[in-house]
Each structure stands twice: as C-alpha cells, then as structure tokens.
Amino acid sequence: RMSHIVYKKSELPYAYGALEPYVDEATMKIHADVDRASKLNILLKTLASHDVKFEEKPVDWLLQNLDTVPEEHRVALRNNAGAWYNHDLFWKMMQPASEGNKPHSKVSHALDEAFGSFNDFKQNFHAISTGIYGSGWSWLCVDPKTKQLVIRGTPNQDNPLSDGYTPILGLDVWEHAYFLKYHYQRGDYVNNWFHVVNWGFVEQLYEQATK
C-alpha cells in the first residue's frame, strides 16, 4: 500500500564544515542547501492523473522505469528525480575524514578483484571522473550481470539505475561541486575527495546490491 511521496530536502549527516579541508564549507553550504525537492514534487503532481501512480513510486523505481513516463515529461523527470536522488546518496556517501580511511572487507575484496588493487581502482576512478566532459557524475557500480564492480560516468543528473547498474559510490563532478576551492582543477578535487568517502555506507549498498 503505497502513499503519495512528498520529497523533502535531504538532511546533511554532518556539519557543513565537517569535510574540511577536502570539501570546503562554503561549497557545502550552497551545495547542500539547493532545493531539489520542489520541482520534483510539482512534476509528480503533474503526472498524477496517469495510469501508473508515479507519485507513489520510490525514486529508485522512477529512475529504473523512465520509459514508462510520458515522453513529454521524461527528460524533466530524469533530470529532477536524478538531481534529488544523486545528492541524497552523495551526502551519505561522505563522512568526516579519518586516519586510515579505507574500504571495508567485502568492497575491498571486490575492488581488488575488479581493478587489481585499491590504488588501481583510485586511478581508474580518477581517470573517469576527470574525463567526464561538462556536468555529470562518476560512479562505482555493481554490474547486474556479472555482479562485478565497474566504474561508470553519467552526464548531467543521470543515475546509473537508469542503465540497469546499481551505484554504491558516486562523485559529483559538476563545477559547482568543487569550483570555489579547486577552480578548474577537478583532478585535485577527486584525489582529495577519497579522504572523505564513507566506506561503511558503501559496504551496506554493496551488500544490498549483491544479495
């Protein structure tokens, strides 16, 4: 029994400055406070009269079933549901930096299998993150066919769920995510961001995705 979902601003699990010096407070204050819910809620209200009760579907279902959305609203839903969900995940995928922050056992093993080593994974992730042209995200995902870990980039606010992949870690590489501190040096931002990855949450997502 589903009920009408009203999207709200995602809560930041830590203070704006908690990811310093790697992700700066000024960026987080703007980034975390952007309203990504209103447009999505309005759009879902617009879709309310259709056979499919879009306003009752969870956001991951929406992103996995974009082809069921009426064509004239499809791009808007991809953009707005994607923007809301990507950021909702992003805040949880980060945590204040700590000494020796590294992947937990299952993900660590899976990264070694897929990339050879943790450092090899980081190099690959860096290459994909800096290779995305314009605005987008880079993701560590579970490939549903092989259950292996793969890295994929998505443009704009697209989420890998729409291509059938399950994201377990994501990095926002839109300029707004790093411009104030890093300007055009996206590579430095990526390298520093590894310090604040929440590997505990990544492990949870991996377990869910490989059940």
């Binding site: 314009g134 605005s135 443009p155 704009n156 839109w174 300029e175 707004h176 411009f179 104030l180 055009y184």
Partner: protein
C-alpha cells in the same frame, strides 16, 4: 600552424561589477587559455595542426571538437560584451528582433529563459538564418550553432565557471547582470 588565444577586447576589470575581474582572470587565463594549450598539445605532429580553428569546429568530433569549439565560443562571448554595454539594440538589429520575436522584451524573455533553464553546462545563443530571421538556440557543453546550420549572432556562457565566483548558484542573477554588458554593435555585425 598553431592555435592562438585572441586577446581580450578590454581590460580584465572592464565588465565589473556585473562580471568581476577575478572571474575574467580565471575564465580567460585558465579556461580559455587552457583550451588553446590543450588543443595545441593534441594537434602536435598530426593533421589537426594544419586546420584552422573554423575547420576544427566544422569537421572534428570528440575531444578536438570540444577544445576547438570552446576556444571559438569563448572568443565570441568576450566580443559580445563590453563595458557600459546593454540597453537595447537599434537599427537593423532591432528591426530583425521585432520581426522575429514581436518585440525586444519578448526576445529578452525567451533568451533569458533559455540561458537560465539550460540544464547542465552549455551556452544560450541568438542565431539567424540567411534571411536574418532570428531564433534562440541552446547548445549543450561545447556545442556550436554553426555545426547545426545556424549563424551565431550573440551568446551567453552558462557553464558554472562563468558565474560561480560572482553569483554562486544563482544563474538567474548572472544572466540578469549579463544583459548590462551586451555589445549590440558586435551582434549587429553578425547579421547578413
């Protein structure tokens, strides 16, 4: 032959306060110059080095296109602005705007809408056909209207690097400020 960064048509603080000297410094010296440096690196020892910038934009795809088009787009952007610009166009350009949009206000509204609401990185363009019929065109990332059969008349850069220092995420405020800088003389020169 190597690709060259054209000089800015004015001092770096000329567009202040609408676009700060700091933004122009970063935008021109890091982004715009960076594209030129990278295209020259990519072109070294290849046939790419023999092409003009216009040829690169017209014939290349992928990385060389992105670099070449962004060099071209930014030059067009800087030229489309000036200190104490803005106001409204007159003469031939105003005539074309009125004919194509009904009024200057309607054109301004449509252009603003395209610039503010373009999703992700890109550019808002005023373009024309061979009869000076004007329309608004949105380019994603490095897209250039010339590769889509349209002649560019004026452009506004809406990549976040164009406005983030001055306006943070308030793109609408940036576009509103940009109207104060528009070089209508330059735009008119781009008519047939």
């Amino acid at each position: 032959m190597s690709f060259v960064l054209p000089p800015l048509p004015y001092a770096k603080d000329a567009l202040a306060p609408h676009i700060s000297a700091e933004t122009v410094e970063f935008h021109y010296e890091k982004h715009h110059r960076g594209y030129v440096v990278k295209l020259n690196e990519l072109a070294q020892g290849t046939d790419l080095a023999k092409k003009s910038l216009e040829e690169v934009v017209k014939t290349e795809k992928g990385k060389p296109f992105n670099l070449g088009a962004q060099i071209w787009n930014h030059t067009f952007y800087w030229n489309g602005m000036k200190a104490n610009g803005g106001g409204a166009p007159t003469g031939k350009l105003l005539e074309a705007i009125n004919k194509s949009f009904g009024s200057f206000d309607e054109f301004k509204k449509q252009f603003t809408d395209a610039a503010v609401n373009h999703f992700g990185s890109g550019w808002a363009w005023l373009v024309r056909d061979e009869n000076n019929h004007l329309s608004i065109w949105q380019g994603h990332d490095a897209e250039n209207p010339a590769t889509h059969g349209k002649v560019p008349v004026l452009t506004c850069d809406v990549w976040e690097h164009a406005y983030y220092i001055d306006y943070r995420n308030n793109r609408a405020a940036y576009v509103a400020a940009w109207w104060n800088l528009v070089n209508w003389e330059f735009a008119e020169k781009n008519l047939a």
